[in-house]
Symmetry: none
Subunit: 191 residues, 4 copies
């Protein structure tokens, strides 16, 4: 049983994280703490009462995002037993977080070391599930080292995400090109 104040604190922290998520999604990671505070409806100092520094806020945000993504992947991947399903699931998932995910991969180099590491860990969960699926279906797919298959897929997806402004400036890229990406990839890897 939590006290009212604990709930209030958690609520504020959550509000900051959620607002940061929105602001970063829209403006990128160069958005300032003052903007986040204002948008979250808290004072500027409150951010630093919850996070010791901007870097820590970033880490927590990406950690939270990564955890959510990771567990979604886990849950969804369990029920899929073939590559096609897995690819679609993967894209569905990314589509749900498209804006933020794009910022993450586009501005990765600006992020503090910790945050970058956190994001790398997410990627390895995805890799794990793909590896399993690729191995299971290895008889029907081309004889290419599995990591390279995975990286080809990731590369293709990220390429479309990173170049959203060229491919699909106004609507989500994955909505528009998702099925083409899976089709293409499946066609390429099949024997």
């Amino acid at each position: 049983m939590k006290t009212k104040r604990q709930l209030q604190k958690e609520h504020t922290r959550k509000k900051i994280i959620e607002t940061a998520y929105q602001i970063y999604s829209e403006q990128g990671f160069s958005a300032t703490t003052a903007v986040i505070a204002k948008e979250a409806g808290v004072s500027h100092g409150t951010i630093f009462a919850h996070f010791s520094s901007l870097d820590e806020l970033l880490c927590c945000l990406i950690q939270d995002f990564g955890d959510a993504l990771g567990s979604e992947i886990h849950r969804l991947a369990e029920t899929k037993d073939n590559i096609e399903e897995l690819l679609k699931t993967h894209l569905d998932l990314l589509a749900r977080h498209e804006k933020f995910y794009i910022r993450l991969i586009a501005e990765r180099s600006l992020l503090p070391e910790d945050a970058r590491l956190t994001f790398s860990n997410i990627q390895s969960i995805v890799a794990f599930h793909f590896n399993k699926a690729f191995e299971r279906e290895s008889s029907t797919i081309k004889d290419v080292p599995i990591p390279l298959l995975f990286n080809t897929w990731m590369g293709l997806v990220h390429y479309y995400l990173l170049n959203k402004d060229l491919f699909s400036p106004d609507t989500p890229v994955l909505e528009r090109y998702g099925s083409k990406l899976t089709e293409t990839f499946l066609e390429l890897i099949k024997k």
Copy 2:
């Protein structure tokens, strides 16, 4: 016939662009104008005597880089008549500019609109040559829309470049993984 002054001016401009290229390659696009000026051996103000703003410097730099890259591609692609050669040539070219190219694709979102557009134009030159080669060899490669083939290749290469710190932190990525990338891609696209 150019006056001495005009020559001097062009020389200074070139020096700034070249230094900016070096500095951005090493430190990324968050390097300051003061650092570039110092390294170029000119005064801080001189930068703004040649470029109306930092954004313009970036545009010109990337324009120059794009032009150089574009004409190299043109020249080299002319002599190559099959996909394999073209892929290798492409990677050789990128390898020669790896550091800067990585910064360009990694920090693209920080760049001003104009600079981003300029870079996109480079890509289309590359695409043009790939299209020709793919069409020529269409009988032996899988039945996949050519743009998607091209994007798969670009995605794969960029994925390795962007994740250089994971794949090959100390040595150039393309030196280490270049041949694996071409092999894999060729294997995937062949019928």
Copy 3:
């Protein structure tokens, strides 16, 4: 007869004062209220439930310290009937509070007006006892106005305390130089 609540309140207040004394001794008067609260095992707000402001806490702390020091001086000085004994007693007393006393004289200018005044009052108690002793032994000491004798002594002692980092960085200064200071002073004042 005090209620349980009143006792509790007094206990908390005492705890804060004592902790502040320790913290200020170690870190100086730039230590924050948050640090004091944490170390005292009370909430940050509790400090302000007992003291209307940081300045008031400082005043009370120094008041308490001054009162304690003053009564100790009184008690000890009673039994001493010559200057030599008095000097030694004075140094013994300061030695017991050396760390805090140094902070007090070193960072006096940071303290609020009230706190500074409080500290001055302590000094006058010391002065009173010295005056008595000097008068009693006036026949054997040099013909110098008593206040100046007293200030010479205080100056000498404070000089060593304030420059502890030069004279004795690792061990208490008074332990190391106390006897030299009394010897010197006695030698100087004797006819």
Copy 4:
């Protein structure tokens, strides 16, 4: 031959240092860079164009002050061949910089390491001249280790300076008490 701009730059730097000297003299070392900038009639950023940080400004200021004081001491001490003259000269010198000197000794513990060290060096110049004078007149003064004689003098003077608010709140302390201090000290050290 200096260019106009070099002169302008030196002038600004000097203006900042001088203003800082004035402001610190009046308000103590907790005065902010913004206040100094405003008072000096330059923009806030200008301070950091001349000094890489607040600490560096402090160091340069104290260095300058120390150098000036040191060379004045040297020059004046040369011509004085007895202790009495030396004491008077010393006090005259301090009197000319009384306000700043008081802040320096009163808030020494707040200063960055470097600045503290710089100040210590000044002291040793003073000590050097006193040592010489004490040695020369050793036959007529009490048999007390010279360093202790020096420290007694410094202690006495600093005690009056540090407690200016008690001894002489409105007028310079040394003007009011200077001669009493020299008289007393001379009386005490004579055999």
